[in-house]
Amino acid sequence: MAQAPSIVSEIDLLKETGAEKNCELIIFTTFSFDPHFFDNIVLKKLRKDNPIARIVVVADSNHIDFEKRTYETGREYRLILAPPTFHPKIFLFCSNKTGKTLIGSHNLTLSGFSNNLELSCKIDNRDITIEFLEIIKNLLSKLLSLDDPIFTDIDKQLQNKFIRGQTDLYTITNLELPILDQTLLKITKLDPKIRTVKIVSPFYSEPRKLIEKITNATKAEKVQICVQKNNHTLSSDEIKNLLHVEPLEIQAKQKRRIHSKIILFEGTKKLALVGSPNFTTAALNEIYQVGRSNLEIAVLVDGEKINSLLSELSYLSITMDEIDDSRMKNNQWLAGHYTHHIVTSIYDPFGYLHIEFASSPSLSGTYAELKSMKNEINMIDIGSSEKVEGRKLTFNCPVKLEPGTLLTIYSNAGLQVSNVSIVNILRSITDIMPIYNTMSPDQIIKTLAKASTFEDLVRLTISLWNPPEKTATSSEKQTSEDNSQPDILPSSWGRSQARKDILDILEELYSLTSSRANYPTGLASTTNYSKEDIVDIKNRIRRIPLKFTKCFENYKLKTDNSSSVYSIYLLYSIRLSEVLSKILQTDIQELLQREALLNFNTLIRNYGISLGDNSKLLSLLLYLESHSGLKLDEKLLLKLTSNIRINELNLFNTSYLEEMSIELNKKQDLYDIAEQLTISIIKSKGNLWENIQINPEIENKIFDYYQSIIPECKQIPKPVFMKAVTGIDVINLYGYGVYPRTEADGLPSFTTQIPLNEVLEKTLQIIKGNHINLNNESLTAILLNKLRKEDLRTILAFTLERGKARFTPGRIILKFRKQNEPKLAATR
């Protein structure tokens, strides 16, 4: 352990918390919480220099001074109410590059920051900060569901985790073992010859038991208990007759109230336990259980430093009587245990109240009391709610809530059955909505397919612009260093700017739509909007596709111009138009889709499209064209279809749209467009045969039909007929008394009583009707219908001798086969 004494012995907590800049995640854990102090003094500076940070305060639910709440409480930051007794005091600041932790005895109050004498351990090291973050994640996971947005941000930080080197700092929590047990284990291992133990703490319970435990483990010869007069709870009875125990009065300069908690072990080495635990059984000798025992976090640090700090205080001897006389009275913490513990509650901009309990609640016969800053009270029956899922209750709140609203649950009999909590009415959407972690395009499309509400869409949008930072592996780093190509990835600034842009729009929409609950009949009919407002709202809405397109362009297309990305763009646009039309009950769907198509044209012109399967994209495009009435650029479509085989599986499949939950309410329009496109494609490709496939089953049926219309062949076994008409074994027919004429191409021809036109029609029907994928909705069916009058006649002409009633059935079969074979080979 290093022996260097501290040069600067004081830290200005206000300056220290205000000094952090550009953090992404800031977490405060505290026992007491003074919202007025935090909102007015800490938060303003913090928010100014950390505009995108998620800020979280976790405090003991019984020690939040709700009287001092402000309109900002739970607005810029998330307030989590941990069940009592939640005692850790950690301030953690984190970005993907930096990390700082302050751990000590200081609460998030003005006294803790400015007046009390507190001990603070400052760790200016990201790796250790990440370790604390893991501890915090661990304890938050005991309080919150894992889909809480907080975890997204925590995990993002944890991704950039490195194994830290050896340090002399040991973090100790009572999540799994009592703090004292762990401390003594560590101490005795590091220094088996502890001689003196010095204890500084304002609060004591069962000190005898704890001291005995310490002396038994360390064999210490002297234990000094330092108390500050009128600021301790030590009773002389507890230490009377204890060998080796020496009580001392401790004094601080400027009569400062000592709130620090220290156990200093002195032997050949000096080690000290500092942090949140007082010298109480609950803090040092118990394992944390939610709502049942204390949660404490401490660090074991170099005792020389602590010794040096303690030497700045004065020590006097104190008598047992003086200890009792100067003991604090009325210092009992409020126990405040209720059957229901509200950990957090969020009122979202859509008017839903989400309440999360420490355990699954039984809400039968209960009411939620909502008390505004102006002391207006609303009672809401939640007892009949069926919307409890696990620990969460979500319901559409019948009253509009304002920031600073307190929430408490009462039984029908008027008994308070929950802690008092504050409703978080967060300003930023990202603080409210869970964010999808995936960035896989397929996954996004799947999620988009399910998105039916604006909330869903917002979640997804946030995901699109909030991807987890890609952590470059060492090999990737090497590659990128070797590569002299400029980095085409948008800068993190560019990404955050794009995200900010889209979020700005969504935030605006949130505010527009947040009154939906109050105006269920929609925008058009509400009297709360003036005509000018409605025009303004519509204009703002019209800007969204363009804004979205720009963001898409800046962020997505610069790195990926695949068909999937364009599909996301189109599907998102369709969803947005649907959802906005629904919310605002205004017929803007076509308008928005038109805008989306126009923007799509621009995008694809500027960024092109990489090779790949465009079938889904085409389906979406045809859908949009049919709905918006805007004609697509044919050249563009042909380009998109260049790699597509024209059949119903690839070009246009309604099941794609069904998968994407797109309703086909203009089917005929859609088919007409698809048909035109197909014909264009076929014409552009120039070979009709390539576009028609028949499978063996259809072929079989055609054979059956042809055999049935040639009287002399009816009795011949089918395989013989098939081989003969296709020229493989014509001679075999002779054995059955059939002697057909053989044409120049070596195929046998027959006469038939059926008019040849009918034969052609029937052949067509067989191809259509029996083809497994052919039906009236499929593209091939449309294609064949269209071709019947013109092109199919040409096909069938191969089978006929013009002007004669001779029929060569093998020609059509072989023609199909010949055209299909190379394609199958290519497919294989």
Partner: protein, 550 residues
């Protein structure tokens, strides 16, 4: 080392001014006295600056250097008896003493002149007078921060143009002989002020000005003539004065400023107060229309056509008492808290008070310990307003509270004062009530109306509890607001009901209307008031001015 361990620092605080944020209760003086602050004292400094800014622009000279010379002139010629309000006295004295009589003084060597906060790069003119001159509409700044004069401002600036010896201000050095010669034309003392200057400044302060078509301030000779002819209407109904106060129209406000100065002149004429009692005398005269003369007799004062104007200022004095009540009781609370450095709860703090003493005082003063009924009880005894002759009045109880020896006695006297103030408020006319409401706009939960409703309760313990709680809450709000502007000014901290003193002394000021002293200094420079070591009195010119006989 991956970590460091520290004690947390006790945060050092900035100056504690108005810790309850109640200054707006006396906003009337800001409304009607623009340009006269407690920072500015001498009218010559105004004239000098207007002249100097002109020179700065034309000659590209440094204003600070010119101000240095002005200060050296004052100091050299007046020694230890410099005019009230001169700045930098001690440092200038030290600087001069180091120079022999025949030495040439290099102004660049005079380095510690100016505002310390600016590292001596800004003079007092720039920091203290500029805003006042702008409020008087004599100067302004353009987009390039250059000084722009109004026509009236230019006229005053030119009044020094012919002063003898002005070239000295463009030199970088000076001899003591020259300092002596410059006194008669440039010193800050009253003797050097010319008749022209007096005439111009009187017209400015008494509002004989108007804005011309271009918006620049010009002297209004017609208005002045009308004042002399006694046809200028000073009488306005209380309602009109209330509306003027709210109007924010410079011309109307200037009329109000003139009325206020006439009102002060009238009080000085009648009361001739000593410099020690000037604030209280003006308070009494406005509030009671009475004052205590040098023979300790109660004397009545008639405000004539300014009576309606006085009624508006009666609200101001009422508010001054409210401010005193709040600041003094906050001081008492902090003193009690100071005895508990480890912190205490409010209920424990109140329990330590001796309520027998408190009750005793209430029974003798108001006849009841039910303070919610105080107004009703007082109204029976005093159907009208209190006067300086009634058994109990605001002035006496306030003075009694100040001289009380125990905390209980002080506290009870201040609470009696609050009861009397509530009683006074009941006599307020509609315009007065409107003015009260207008002035208490931003005083959080310590506005007079709230105090009367929420603080005075049926039980003394509850009353004191409510009072202290409101004081704490208000202070907390102020802390937050000030911190937003970078000022740390908390006198206590509170954590879950545990109140902990910050050990910063605070008692609250007795008289917050310190501006009257400055007003009198201006009137002295305008030669309308005389002053001796003993008292202020009206000058002969002042008497004529009051009669509008200029």
């Amino acid at each position: 080392m991956s970590y460091e361990v520290y004690w947390t620092k006790k945060i050092p605080l900035n100056a504690i001014i108005d810790p309850l944020g109640i200054r707006s209760l006396r906003a009337l003086e800001d409304i009607f006295l623009p340009g006269i602050t407690t920072q500015t004292h001498r009218i010559r400094y105004f004239t000098f600056l207007l002249w100097a800014w002109n020179q700065v622009k034309d000659r590209k000279i440094n204003l600070l250097q010119m101000e240095k010379l002005l200060t050296l002139i004052v100091q050299y010629n007046h020694g230890t008896n410099v005019p009230y309000g001169s700045r930098n006295t001690e440092k200038t004295q030290d600087f001069l003493q180091k120079k022999t009589e025949d030495a040439t003084i290099d102004l660049a060597e005079f380095t510690d002149f100016g505002v310390p906060g600016s590292n001596y790069t800004v003079g007092y003119g720039d920091s203290l007078y500029k805003n006042s001159l702008a409020m008087l509409e004599l100067v302004g700044t353009n987009d390039f921060r250059e000084i722009k004069f109004s026509e009236a401002g230019r006229t005053i600036a030119n009044s020094l143009e012919h002063a003898k010896g002005k070239e000295a201000f463009f030199q970088t050095s000076i001899s003591k002989k020259e300092l002596k010669e410059l006194h008669d034309h440039f010193c800050l003392c009253r003797e050097t002020i010319t008749d022209l200057e007096v005439d111009l400044w009187r017209k400015i302060f008494f509002g004989f000005t108007r804005s011309d078509k271009t918006g620049t301030l010009v002297f209004d000779e017609d208005k002045f003539q009308s004042f002399q002819n006694n046809t200028l209407q000073y009488y306005r109904s209380p309602q009109e004065w209330y509306e003027i106060a709210c109007s924010n129209q410079p011309e109307k406000i200037a009329l109000g400023r003139g009325s206020l100065l006439l009102m002060i002149l009238r009080i000085i004429e009648n009361a001739e107060p000593s410099s020690q009692s000037v604030n209280q005398t003006i308070r009494d005269a406005i509030y009671f229309k009475q004052f205590i003369n040098s023979k300790q007799e109660v004397q009545v004062i008639d405000f004539g056509s300014l009576e309606a104007f006085r009624t508006i200022w009666e609200v101001y004095v009422h508010n001054l008492y409210i401010m005193s009540f709040l600041e003094k009781t906050f001081g008492i609370f902090l003193k009690l808290l100071e005895k508990k450095p480890m912190g205490t709860r409010l209920e424990n703090l109140i329990s330590d008070l001796s309520f027998n003493k408190l009750e005793e005082n209430f029974l003798s003063s108001i006849g009841s310990v039910d303070l919610s009924r105080s107004e009703e009880i007082l109204s029976k005894e005093l159907p009208g307003k209190t006067t300086l002759k009634t058994r109990i009045n605001e002035r006496d109880i306030f003075r009694k509270a100040q001289s009380s020896s125990t905390i209980e006695e002080k506290l009870s006297n201040y609470l009696v004062l609050l009861c009397l103030l509530k009683h006074r408020k009941m006599s307020f006319s509609e315009p007065q009530l409107s003015m009260l409401q207008y002035l208490e706009r931003s005083t959080y939960n310590l506005s007079p109306n709230t105090l009367y409703t929420n603080i005075l309760q049926s039980d003394l313990r509850k009353t004191i509890g409510a009072l202290f709680r409101n004081l704490i809450n208000n202070h907390r709000t102020v802390i937050a607001e000030r911190y937003g502007a970078g000022t740390k000014c908390w006198l206590l901290t509170e954590e879950k009901g545990l109140l902990i003193p910050y050990s910063t002394p605070y008692e609250g000021v007795t008289y917050s209307e310190t501006k009257w002293r400055n007003v009198l200094e201006f009137l002295y420079d305008l030669k309308l008031v005389e002053k001796t070591d003993q008292k202020f009195s009206i000058s002969e010119a002042g008497s004529r001015w009051l009669k509008h006989q200029v």
